[in-house]
């Protein structure tokens, strides 16, 4: 079968499944049923993107297209227990753990006691009477423009929702543990998250992705929508530590209201093919957005970070720092776009992407982009790809530190820079540990 046919066949199979789903889950949430139908049309038109598509030119989805995926259903969930999840606790003993097992919230495995007043966490069924929240669901991430959002929208059946009321400051970290449990058949997992941050609220959310157990291939197709209210402050981390075989495409859309702040860290360590799409819309004035990313790759991993910082309004600030260490035969991709729309005067937008290549079979493709339609702006991007600084290396060696140790010290320092900006200390330390485990697995070649 030709590659194109494989893509078409896979796409058609997904659409057929979605049509069955529409009947299965349609009646419970009629408004969503209508959106789901539109998504089916959108996905049918686009299909799984090929490398001919400019936005997908560096990542080959053939391995996804040629796998005979079946969409996970409620029957594929609810098997894990609380102890399975506890090992992934990253933000201290008080943190709330919500386990989303193969796309569906598993309350029994979760630790959801001690949720502060003004904070609600649940699945779509818990929020169906909350019109304000429901109005956000499925509306921010555009399935018209993104095939993989359409795929999720037409297949997801159990979105998880976090709502924080106005003026609530929640110190307890909310960790969403996405547990991928492989089964007998290859599983497509269409997880979906909606976070609604009320005006002047402040809290921390962690999404972490794990594989538990072994089995057939898995493909997480996740969409997260984060609505940041006026003057709200949201700290968000996305942590990818799935198994070696995992395929994962996620789409993260943030909408930011006036005076709001968000700090988003994307840490990608696991998975075979991982694509992170971040779309941050600065939708009002005086918004501050920080996007940090770190990817450390070995073996044959492919990790593609696609970010869009969309400055739609004047007087906003964004700062993006992405760093990568790529070893073995791994491939890294960074595609970061800063888009300053016509009226977004007085925009300050910065972006930096730095990469270290550790092996001659490794590769890195970087495409930083500036698209600027307003004149009174200060925007810049910088990108470097290379090896460790020779001078620094020599300095360390001249102090008696052997070359291998010197290199790993410098690699750590290079990467830690991103994690050090995570505000929550416990979380920061957990991430640092994850980083060190991964770094120690890298082959360090002189």
């Amino acid at each position: 079968m030709s590659t194109i046919t494989k893509y078409q066949t896979a796409s058609t199979a997904f659409v057929q499944e979605a049509q069955v789903f529409a009947d299965l889950y349609g009646s419970a949430h009629p408004t969503l049923a209508a959106i789901r139908k539109q998504a089916i049309v959108a996905f049918s038109n686009r299909g799984i993107p090929t490398m001919k598509h400019e936005e997908w030119k560096y990542v080959n989805l053939t391995s996804i297209a040629q796998t005979d995926y079946r969409t996970a259903s409620p029957a594929d969930s609810q098997k894990l227990s609380n102890s399975d999840a506890e090992q992934y606790r990253y933000a201290g003993k008080d943190a709330i753990l919500c386990v989303i097992e193969n796309g569906k919230l598993n309350v029994a495995a979760s630790t959801m006691t001690g949720i502060p007043a003004g904070v609600r966490i649940g699945s779509i069924d818990d929020f169906s009477s909350d019109a304000a929240v429901m109005s956000h669901l499925f509306t921010h991430a555009s399935f018209e423009e993104e095939a993989m959002v359409a795929l999720n929208t037409m297949l997801c059946y159990s979105p998880i929702i976090i709502k924080v009321d106005a003026k609530v400051k929640c110190d307890t970290v909310i960790q969403l543990i996405f547990a991928t449990v492989p089964g007998v058949d290859p599983l497509l997992i269409p997880a979906r998250v909606l976070v609604v941050a009320g005006e002047q609220s402040e809290f921390t959310v962690v999404e972490s992705y794990h594989t538990l157990g072994a089995g057939a291939l898995t493909f997480n197709n996740v969409v997260s929508e984060v609505v940041v209210g006026k003057a709200a402050r949201v700290h968000y981390s996305k942590i990818q530590v799935e198994g070696d075989e995992a395929q994962h495409i996620n789409y993260h859309k943030v909408n930011m209201a006036r005076d709001s702040y968000q700090h988003l860290t994307t840490l990608s360590l696991g998975g075979a093919i991982v694509r992170n799409n971040l779309n941050i819309r600065l939708d009002a004035e005086q918004v501050n957005a920080y996007l940090n990313g770190l990817y450390v790759l070995n073996q044959k991993q492919v990790i593609d970070n696609h970010t869009l910082v969309d400055h739609a309004m004047p007087n906003c600030y964004s700062n993006e720092l992405y760093k990568g260490i790529i070893g073995d035969q791994a491939q890294g991709v960074f595609n970061g776009k800063i888009w300053v729309r016509e009226d977004a005067q007085k925009t300050n937008a910065y972006q930096s992407n730095k990469n270290l290549l550790l092996s001659n079979q490794a590769s890195m493709n970087t495409k930083p982009q500036l698209e600027i339609y307003a004149d009174d702006v200060k925007c810049s991007h910088g990108a470097t790809t290379g090896q460790l600084d020779d001078e620094a290396l020599f300095y360390l060696r001249a102090r008696g530190i052997g070359e291998t140790v010197a290199r790993s010290l410098l690699n750590h320092a290079f990467a830690a820079d991103v994690i050090e900006q995570v505000e929550n200390e416990t979380l920061r330390e957990s991430l640092m540990q994850l980083l060190d485990v991964k770094l120690s697995a890298l082959q360090i070649e002189a």
């Binding site: 400019e54 016509e342 005067q345 990469n355 290549l357 550790l358 092996s359 001659n360 490794a362 590769s363 890195m364 493709n365 970087t366 495409k367 930083p368 982009q369 500036l370 698209e371 600027i372 339609y373 307003a374 004149d375 009174d376 702006v377 200060k378 925007c379 810049s380 991007h381 910088g382 990108a383 470097t384 790809t385 290379g386 090896q387 070649e445």
Partner: protein, 481 residues
């Protein structure tokens, strides 16, 4: 709007000064494009069979291609059947004596400030003048001939140096390369040919001056430069066209081969008619330029000052094949009014210790859109390759856009690739500082922009640099507001 900016806003409507039409009778091919057009051109040029075959092969390939849409430019679909593919001044241009040259042609070039009379040239610049589809005059041929340098029109080279043409034509840009390259390969009418023998340092600047004159024509010229081992040549290219309401297509090809230890510097001042203030008319400048550093320590340096054309689509590139070879790209691209530019370079590193530098300065004014698009690729075997890129954009006015699309592909860990890009507007504090010293805002903008482009202008031969600065000033007129 500040008072100063208002004043500047009034100083608008600068006219395109090369917009006149010369009354030169021309010999045209019938409108439209099919195999007979290709045969017509080939026959007109009395070409050998192999070249006709090559053209037909290109044409047939072109038919299978689709017009590219990935560039950040927008224009109505081109009707390729509504273009005249061959237009030549009717009077046979003289090759021996300037006296035999059509006085109207001579006057045209005088008006453009290009003197074809060798004695009147201040600096030693040899010129190949191309009007519409054909070369009308090449100066200093004898002087150059003594050194073994061949500098002539492409058509003459086909007849006089068929072996070189056969060997190198399409060797850097194959006829299958892209839509416009395939089109050019099918219908190219003339252009310049230049050959620098081993060890020769070309004693003067070689220059081609391109002029579109006839209405309804497309210009499809082709330049081929071969620098043998250890040679050096600096090559200049200038372009203008009359003001017309219609859009005219210019789809040229430049191929450069730089052998071991050879250096080729190629400078362009592109000032095709950009269209009027409302975006009516202007040249579509869809050009493929590429050089290859064949041998070790070969060097190719592109410098371009792009001020003209309604749409510019060009990416002068270097394939760094030889070890220690060097590729350079220095560019100033100014867009005003409704102009659109999507330009940049490709540096393909294949050899060891190859080095490239990219300095791009984009200036957007009016309602124009200006994009830098570039590729730096470090191949698996390009040990210790280096690239440094600096792409800056300056915005003048709030209706224009400045965009940067760099692609950086690194496949070797010993590479060191650095890319920086900034976008900003002309600093109000800088303008104020100048004002306070008695400099008008318009002059201040000019001064600041000139300073901003200095790194690129410095790469141009002196005479050209002055020309480029003047051109920049004209292009910027009326842009502040």
């Amino acid at each position: 709007m500040s008072e100063d900016l208002k004043i500047l806003d009034e100083v608008t409507n600068s006219e395109y000064k090369y917009g006149f039409v010369s009354n030169i009778e021309s010999d045209n091919a019938p409108k439209g494009l099919d195999e007979s057009t290709v045969r017509f051109i080939s026959a007109k040029k009395n070409e050998p069979e192999w070249l006709l075959e090559w053209r037909l092969k290109s044409f047939r390939h072109w038919l299978t291609l689709e017009e590219p849409t990935w560039a950040n430019v927008h224009y109505p679909k081109i009707d390729f059947q509504d273009i005249i593919y061959y237009s030549a001044p009717k009077k046979k241009p003289s090759l021996n004596s300037l006296d035999e040259l059509d006085p109207e042609i001579k006057a045209t070039f005088d008006k453009l400030g290009i003197s074809l009379i060798e004695q009147q040239r201040l600096a030693g610049v040899a010129v190949d003048a191309v009007i519409d589809s054909v070369s009308v005059k090449t100066t200093f041929r004898e002087t150059l001939g003594e050194l073994g340098i061949i500098f002539c029109s492409f058509s003459e080279a086909v007849h006089d140096h068929p072996d070189l043409i056969k060997k190198y034509l399409g060797s850097v840009i194959p006829h299958t390369d892209n839509y416009y390259a395939a089109l050019n390969s099918a219908v190219f009418s003339d252009g310049s040919f230049c050959y620098i023998p081993k060890g020769v340092r070309c004693p003067m600047e070689l220059s081609t001056y391109f002029r579109i004159n006839s209405a309804g024509t497309g210009q499809f010229e082709r330049t081929l430069i071969i620098a043998e081992e250890g040679s050096f040549v600096s090559y200049l290219e200038g372009c203008t066209a009359p003001m017309r309401d219609e859009n005219q297509l210019h789809a040229a090809i430049v191929e450069i081969i730089s052998h071991t230890d050879a250096t080729v510097k190629y400078s362009t001042v592109q000032n095709w008619y950009p269209g009027d203030k409302n975006g009516k008319g202007g040249i579509y400048n869809f050009v493929t330029k590429r050089g290859i550093c064949m041998g070790d320590r070969a060097k190719i340096s592109w410098t371009q000052v792009e001020t003209g054309s309604a749409i510019t689509w060009k990416y002068p590139s270097v394939i760094l094949k030889g070890d220690y070879s060097v590729g350079e790209f220095y560019s100033v691209a100014v867009t005003n009014n409704m102009q659109q530019a999507d330009t940049g370079t490709k540096m393909i590193h294949l050899g060891k210790k190859t080095k490239s530098i990219i300095i791009s300065k984009g200036i957007s004014c009016g309602k124009s859109q200006n994009s830098y698009r570039g590729l730096v690729r470090i191949g698996k075997k390009a040990e210790h390759a280096r690239n440094f890129s600096q792409c800056d954009s300056l915005l003048i006015g709030d209706k224009c856009g400045a965009h940067t699309f760099p692609y950086i592909e690194v496949g070797n860990k010993t590479a060191k690739v650095e890319h920086e890009a900034t976008t900003s507007k002309v600093g109000e504090d800088q303008i104020f500082y100048c004002n306070q010293r008695g400099i008008s805002t318009e002059d201040a903008v000019n001064l600041i922009v000139n300073g901003y482009c200095k790194e690129v202008f410095n790469q141009l031969p002196m005479e050209f640099a002055v020309e480029a600065q003047k051109l920049l000033a004209i292009s910027l007129e009326g842009s502040v507001g």
